[in-house]
Assembly symmetry: C4
Homo-oligomer: 253 residues x 4
């Protein structure tokens, strides 16, 4: 809930969360079928493209609706840069790629409230979602390029894995401009999330052996400064209780 | 000890820790001999495969035993996802690879209690164990693949090293689907652990020159906020002691 | 403001900030036009080189001016190592590359005060600036080298991206000594900044789901030690208020 | 000073610090001359090898001396694993490489006390030292190998840079077993140190714009929890002062 002062936007978002999740997932499923089952020249490709444009319309309606309801419209736009792509997409060249960013971002908004408090699961779902969409997108734009090294969906998934972990063997890499834009998005968006996942795994790992963080791993366990401080404050409180219950010096009893 | 409310599972685990470590290590040794000394078509390979299946049976018995003893069975399964592979493995395709994950996970459980408090050693043993198993597994599945670049065990070890540090030269990389699954496991599991090892080395390194963390490295040494706070609370305590021992204003003495 | 005890340098810097930003940007624009539109043998290249030398003179005047005004000159030089390149550049071999470092460093100084408090924006501008300059520089020195793999500006940008994220596919890499110096600067300077950007994205990401840091991500949400401490101190204060308002034991009312 | 309870070892170390630094640097200089100016079959190579063995003897004497003076000898060995290589080196195969590790480790010990408090400088010296030695060592073992890609010292330095930053283009990589051991040492030792350098640069960078850490970078500046707590404790102290100076309720004045 980023706009505590935007009650109408929040009300709209609460009501559209479930339908938008379904519409967003539908977009991804149709896109996946289109990329994996057809090629750009098939009639089936064109048919599914029409379906994608219709689904896209729902997102435009949702964004325009929220913008109309927002009291401070410029701040709303500034806080939802990815959602803006919904409207702006047709004016850019890399249309399809930008639409994917907007869809993933919408799904992230919806999932966010669902996973509140279960960050581990949210991170894994997010990184899987981004990785899956990046693999689909890079496969779509690379497969027919001359000298392309990513020519099957399996290879696209493998490429996503080597990229998102920053291993980067270089046995597979995009050669088209569109593919490199996908790579840029994956690197900038996905690496940060995977870094968080990695940090979380490392934290969990250290927990298994009873150390709270990496810096503690090589230290003797002794109390932390904050623990010392809490002990100090508790002693202070006990001291005051003692002052209170004990009869005052010189007072008659 | 993840189940303080599962006394029977804990009792079982206490009794089976030592035998399971031995059985797990035996599995790894037999697997290493099988992969390093034989090929899939040798009779020796088949003989050792029988031995591995028998050892495997011990793990199945251990998991089923713990599951039977558990009071809340679904939560037990949810908390031991890798152990579940013990039973589920035969139903999956990448059987051998999944069995290795389960064996490494079992060893990790056993070693964990052993190394409690000595995190540095535990991390080094874990990362070595994961690296060694990954090298064996990738060597097994890659060596006979056409266009494979990992064709000796030494090259598999070198590949593990370049992958786990995320350097990823790309002079060696898996080309088979199974090999890429091994790589995915190594990347996701091992990088987090090596990241922890690296953080621990960096911490130790900074300790050598008398700085407590990286952010302190470029700062003048001055007291931290928490140190200031401790001083403040101590002064408060002294103030109250003074209030107490001094005769009260206007009180007869 | 690094020299609170250098009032004259600060006064100079306040007055020259705006003109220096314009001059620095002009240098970069002219350099970009020169590299992207001409080649080393064109007459246009030579004409723009003269322009660059004139602009360069402004930086020399600025540095000499600040040095003259500084009271402690050696400390001033020690604190502005990159600015020193302004004067020292002609005596080094990799003249143009060093000048770029000095220009970027000057722009960073100017932008710094402008973005105070908006670190996210500052980081993005910095990383874009460093990346853009590195792409221009590597393109300039690599494009005519035999066996070069970076032969267009687009490929230079792609190389910057794979380098700064440490993915390093190795499909594009510098082969000249100058190009490798650019790479060294990009790796050492840019990776640190991008690391900070990544950490910031990860922080923002965790904020979206209501967790404050990665280590919290897998924990139940319970209060932190500091929160416990605050509660403890507040209770202490309430206790003292109670002591004060309640009539003293045994005192007449 | 790791052995506060080893007064004789400390006394020895205080006296031998300066001579050992000189001897260690001499070893590195002679090794660099040998590798850069000669080849394994030259008579000059053999002559410098004799010099290196003599210098090596000094390190053996130093280690044996410290071991003799130590009261708890096994703990001493456990805390100086790299120094042990001094004595153990002749019994291992990768003799020269292990000697280099021992020499670098000795220099690190000596430099450590010198740089106490100036961590930034110490890190830069350490990473340069490790990088330089790794480049020399990998150049020595790779240059005559068939299919080697590291065939000049400049390429070895470039390889060190791409490895230590984990970029790993893969245009240069070691192909011999010895070279891969050098790479393993560089990865495990150097990456941790460079990671610390990077963290320090990022910290410095954030300091320039007035933010104290990455997580603060995207937050509004508000007071931290600890600052709130300090304010709370100060208010508490003022409250008690007030209690003390004000005449007690009902007390005669």
């Amino acid at each position: 809930m980023q706009e505590p002062d935007e009650p109408r936007v929040e009300a709209w978002e609460r009501r559209t969360d479930v339908p938008l999740t379904i519409v967003g997932l539908a977009y991804l499923v149709v896109y996946a079928v289109q990329v994996l089952a057809f090629r750009g020249s098939d009639p089936g490709w064109f048919a599914l493209d029409v379906v994608l444009w219709v689904i896209w319309g729902v997102f435009v309606v949702d964004f325009v609706g929220r913008l109309v309801l927002a009291r401070r419209k410029w701040r709303f736009i500034g806080r939802h840069p990815f959602d803006l792509l919904v409207v702006a997409a047709p004016f850019f060249r890399f249309l399809r790629l930008l639409r994917l960013v907007a869809v993933v971002s919408s799904l992230a908004r919806v999932l966010r409230d669902d996973f509140r408090g279960r960050v581990g699961s949210y991170l894994l779902v997010s990184v899987s979602l981004i990785g899956f969409v990046a693999a689909l997108a890079v496969y779509e734009v690379e497969r027919d390029a001359p000298e392309a090294s990513i020519t099957s969906f399996g290879e696209a998934v493998w490429w996503v894995l080597t990229t998102i972990t920053t291993v980067g063997y270089g046995d597979r890499y995009p050669v088209t401009t569109e593919g490199r834009f996908v790579a840029a998005g994956l690197m900038l968006g996905g690496i940060a999330i995977l870094g968080t996942v990695t940090a979380a795994i490392a934290t969990w790992f250290l927990e298994q052996v009873g150390a709270r963080d990496a810096s503690e791993a090589l230290h003797p366990a002794g109390p932390t400064e904050t623990e010392l401080l809490i002990a100090e404050v508790r002693a202070l409180r006990a001291r005051i209780d003692e002052l209170d219950t004990r009869p005052h010096a010189g007072a008659p009893d």
